[in-house]
């Protein structure tokens, strides 16, 4: 990004700005463009800078978590123990899960929210810029703590990202306290981010931007933020109880002291199920922005999309025990959670149908963001189908804790959430950097990812159905061939992501200049500001008709 250019833009902004009575406390003082050097980033209260920080952080974590996945797949390449000890293998699966969920996917969405929400609703910045700075800078500490725990004597967390006690209490490594505190920090960061999103959306909209005129991405993030505030504190409570059970002699989850280990699973999944929607609702928003752009046709059924998102969010609080069908629930509970879970497929189906209807009789082109979005629709739906199968309690007794589940949630999280983040990155890169990305390389990235991700995750369905449990470092010979294919797919997918880094770095460094609206069919306020978006935008609120 060129500093001089930004400065010019900022000065233009000052000249054109007359009213300074924004709620924003730092307003007025910082109208000199971006500060220089590390201070720009360390003390930043600018939503665009913080957004970039989040996105770079997320990309870094994506590669660290990905490296762990490579270790896992390398160990599982053939039967027998070759590379790592079972204990280290468990640390890898645990850290991979935690880092991808809390370090890669969630920060990427918060980064996108930071960058795009103010631009989409015509606000000069987020409502609480200093808190914004905090909520980002907590993250590097949280993840350093988590990663450092891997190097302690006894190793890092090895009890799975779901950390079921007593494995995570009485039988966990000494470093468990580090894990607990890092989850606390991640939770605080997410909650602050969510508060900021809600306050911004509710208070900072440009005149005329009514709730039902907000872009879908804004809507989905608003609902996601409410989910975050509702469940992240519950997760914090759960890890706190783990901490006191392990170190301070309480017995929340210890039958010997009158507790119940299954209680933990209820609390965890009360957080955990809304959490999976936290990781997919913003994706729905992204796809709802991109599909209409490249179909050159307005999003079909905007209202029903909003209602569907809200129903998914509400239903997400009534399905948590479908993660625990084998735990020994009474029949009535099993039936209740089965029905509720099946019901969630209705609003989700509505979304898919709406997207397909948006495509119908459009004028479709296939730029890279569109390719990722189309892949999202198909592959996320496959994940949805396996989710529906998992909801059927009697069948779940066979699927539960097998690779079928692993296949399911990687379809919704990798070809779902991650693909939508990639689509978003390609979609808004010209706006962020001011340059068009290398389309050819982007298409290579897409096709390599698409092919390898299916070689990686589709055969996992077969592994699970044939009886391979998840989280095992070694397996019976009958699973050998498919595991080999899966591992090859994994290595290919991992390598393909280097193309993405190349595309992003090239687009940051230069290239063909991007116009304010690089995509013909794009709609929305973000395309009314120049590319790259100036350091300060919408100091004068735009009028929305």
């Amino acid at each position: 990004m060129s500093d001089i250019k930004i400065k010019d833009n900022a000065e233009q902004m000052i000249n054109s700005t007359s009213d300074l009575h924004h709620a924003d406390p730092h307003q007025g003082a910082e109208h000199h463009g971006a500060p220089k050097g590390y201070k720009r980033w360390l003390f930043s209260t600018n939503h665009k800078d913080i957004g970039s920080l989040y996105l770079w952080f997320s990309l870094t974590m994506f590669f660290i978590g990905g490296a762990m996945a490579m270790i896992i797949r390398a160990e599982l390449f053939q039967p027998g123990l070759q590379l790592v000890e079972p204990n280290f293998f468990n640390q890898m699966t645990t850290s991979h899960g935690l880092i991808m969920v809390f370090g890669a996917v969630m920060p990427a969405f918060v980064g996108l929210a930071n960058w795009m929400l103010p631009l989409m609703i015509g606000a000069p910045d987020m409502a609480l810029p200093r808190m914004n700075n905090w909520s980002f800078w907590i993250l590097p500490f949280a993840f350093s703590l988590l990663l450092l725990s891997l190097f302690t004597e006894g190793g890092g967390p090895n009890f799975g990202w779901t950390f079921y006690p007593p494995l995570s209490t009485k039988y966990s490594p000494d470093s468990t306290a580090m894990f607990v505190f890092s989850v606390h920090l991640m939770g605080i960061s997410s909650i602050m981010g969510a508060i900021n999103v809600i306050v911004t959306i509710l208070n900072m909209r440009a005149p005329g931007m009514t709730m039902m005129k907000m872009p879908m991405f804004v809507w989905t993030w608003l609902i996601t933020a409410f989910l975050l505030i509702a469940v992240m504190p519950v997760l914090a409570g759960a890890v706190t109880m783990i901490l006191t059970d392990k170190y301070f002699g309480t017995s929340f989850f210890d039958a010997a002291g009158g507790g119940d280990p299954v209680l933990f699973q209820h609390i965890f999944w009360f957080f955990g199920h809304p959490e999976v929607y936290i990781m997919i609702l913003p994706s729905f928003g992204i796809i709802s922005a991109i599909i209409p752009t490249f179909a050159r046709k307005q999003l079909f059924g905007y209202h029903s999309m909003v209602y569907a998102t809200a129903s998914i969010a509400i239903l997400s609080f009534t399905v948590w025990a479908h993660h625990m069908f084998t735990v020994g629930l009474p029949l009535a509970a099993e039936l209740f959670f089965m029905y509720c879970t099946m019901l969630i497929s209705v609003p989700t189906g509505v979304k898919i149908f709406n997207w397909v209807s948006t495509l119908w009789r459009g004028s479709i082109t296939f730029e890279v963001p569109m390719l990722f979005s189309l892949a999202f629709i198909v592959l996320f739906t496959i994940g949805g189908f396996s989710g529906l199968m998992l909801a059927i309690t009697p069948a779940d007794f066979q699927y539960h804790d097998t690779y079928f589940v692993v296949a399911h949630f990687h379809y919704v999280l990798v070809t779902g959430a991650v693909f939508s983040i990639m689509a978003a990155a390609y979609y808004w890169l010209p706006k962020w950097t001011g340059y068009m990305f290398n389309e050819r390389l982007g298409k290579w990235h897409f096709w390599c990812s698409l092919i390898s991700v299916n070689i990686l995750f589709f055969p996992m369905h077969f592994l699970g159905l044939a009886g391979m449990p998840r989280r095992i470092p070694d397996y019976a010979l009958q699973f050998a061939d498919i595991n080999k294919i899966v591992s090859i797919g994994g290595f290919m997918f991992g390598l393909s992501q280097l193309l993405f880094v190349a595309v992003v770095i090239m687009a940051v460094r230069g290239g063909q200049k991007a116009p304010a609206k690089p995509w013909e069919g794009a709609e929305g306020l973000e395309w009314t500001v120049p590319s790259p978006a100036p350091y300060h935008t919408f100091d004068t609120p735009p009028e929305v008709k």
């Binding site: 302690t152 090895n158 007593p166 009485k170 459009g362 009697p394 077969f462």
Partner: protein, 389 residues
């Protein structure tokens, strides 16, 4: 028992894996009958029901996918800008929204009915003919025949050499145990499942039984096996380091054969008890104890303390040069017999015979340059157990 293998041998060989999986990606149902790629039909009424349910829902999903993706891809093909497509203006229709909300609900109800019926059947554990108490612990299963006074541990028998790729892997690699659970066919068998330390999950795919074993709580499940044979499964809930190494093997016999087996097993158990008593009077020499001790150690202790006795720093203490193995022998015996509260160290008094206990303690005190020269005798173990009795 191996001649009993039903349907299992088929699983182990897949000649053209790549082609099969590529085809599999294109169309799953082609391979519906092959268990390497699909759920087993199993050998119980319930497992058949579950299989049919699974296939029905899979086909419904495929049908929906074909329709939705069919429309989508047709649209992508026909409505390309490059083909001169001009975008239409419509963007809302309450009618179609209602239709595509209602149709899925109908489909879901159609799915829910057979699922509910199957579930009610699965949860009915009443009027069982035989009850088995299953207890999971790190990393083995313990079976007890309720009302029959017979109990035993069931552990993995695959050798460390196979796991570490030093010798060729046998066909039932990681799915073989020393004492399989033996069950009669055509009887309603009830399982009472619990755990000793962390949560485990007892899973035999051929029965469609998977039940979590929660420490301090009992769970019930049941099965009625149709066909004699050997059925294999494994622990399905992450339970620590050797989660991947605690298989389940069930041998299903005709009821008469089962009764014979049960009677014989009780006699054998009794003989072992007597042999145990006799061993108390004998004084064992060092080589015998070291050989036996090494076997027991590698089977029981090496998972945590490691074959070289070095432990895993921070997680499992070393025995090599440790104060326990070099210090007071009685303290060492006590730790092995009674475990260490609040840690993963279990009490082994009931898991091993007195001779085995004596041997393994002897081994720990003399292997890896520990060289204390102590030979612990079975009688010492007996004394430690029944001190003043």
């Amino acid at each position: 028992m191996d001649n009993f293998e039903g349907g299992y041998v088929r699983l182990s060989k897949l000649t053209t894996p790549l082609i099969a999986s590529v085809l599999g990606i294109v169309s799953t149902p082609l391979f519906a009958q092959q268990s390497t790629l699909n759920m087993t039909e199993g050998v119980t009424g319930i497992s058949n029901t579950v299989y049919n349910l699974h296939m029905t829902i899979l086909y419904i999903c495929i049908a929906i996918a074909v329709i939705v993706f069919g429309i989508m891809f047709w649209s992508l093909y026909r409505h390309r800008k490059s083909q001169g497509a001009i975008a239409a203006k419509f963007h809302e229709s309450t009618t179609v929204e209602i239709i595509w909300t209602a149709i899925p609900i109908v489909i879901l109800i159609a799915m829910a009915i057979p699922s509910t019926q199957a579930l009610i059947l699965m949860e009915d554990t009443s009027e069982a003919d035989i009850t088995i108490q299953i207890t999971g612990s790190q990393w083995k299963w313990h079976y007890r025949y309720f009302d029959h006074d017979l109990e035993f541990y069931s552990r993995l028998t695959t050798s460390q050499a196979e796991i570490n790729n030093e010798v060729e892997k046998q066909p039932y690699y990681l799915k073989e145990v020393d004492n399989p659970l033996v069950l009669p066919i055509n009887k309603k068998i009830r399982f009472l499942v619990t755990a000793d330390d962390v949560i485990h999950s007892w899973w035999v795919p051929a029965f469609a039984v998977k039940k979590d074993a929660n420490p301090g709580f009992i769970n019930e499940a049941w099965t009625k096996i149709d066909t004699p044979g050997t059925y294999r499964g494994q622990c399905a809930e992450l339970c620590g380091k050797d989660h991947g190494f605690m298989p389940i093997v069930v041998t299903a016999l005709e009821p008469e054969a089962f009764d014979d087996w049960l009677a014989q097993a009780k006699i054998t158990a009794n003989q072992q008890l007597q042999a145990e008593q006799q061993s108390l009077t004998k004084t064992m020499d060092m080589p015998t104890m070291m050989t036996l001790g090494e076997t027991v150690y590698n089977r029981t202790c090496a998972a945590c303390h490691q074959a070289g006795g070095q432990g895993i720093p921070g997680a499992f203490p070393a025995l090599k040069n440790s104060p326990v193995a070099l210090g007071d022998v009685n303290k060492h015996i006590n730790i092995v017999l009674q475990g260490v509260p609040g840690t993963a160290m279990a009490a082994f008094a009931k898991q091993l015979t007195k001779k085995e206990l004596a041997a393994v303690i002897t081994y720990e005190r003399n292997a890896w340059d520990n060289n204390t020269g102590d030979i612990v005798q079975p009688a010492q173990i007996d004394t430690a157990l029944t001190n003043s009795n």
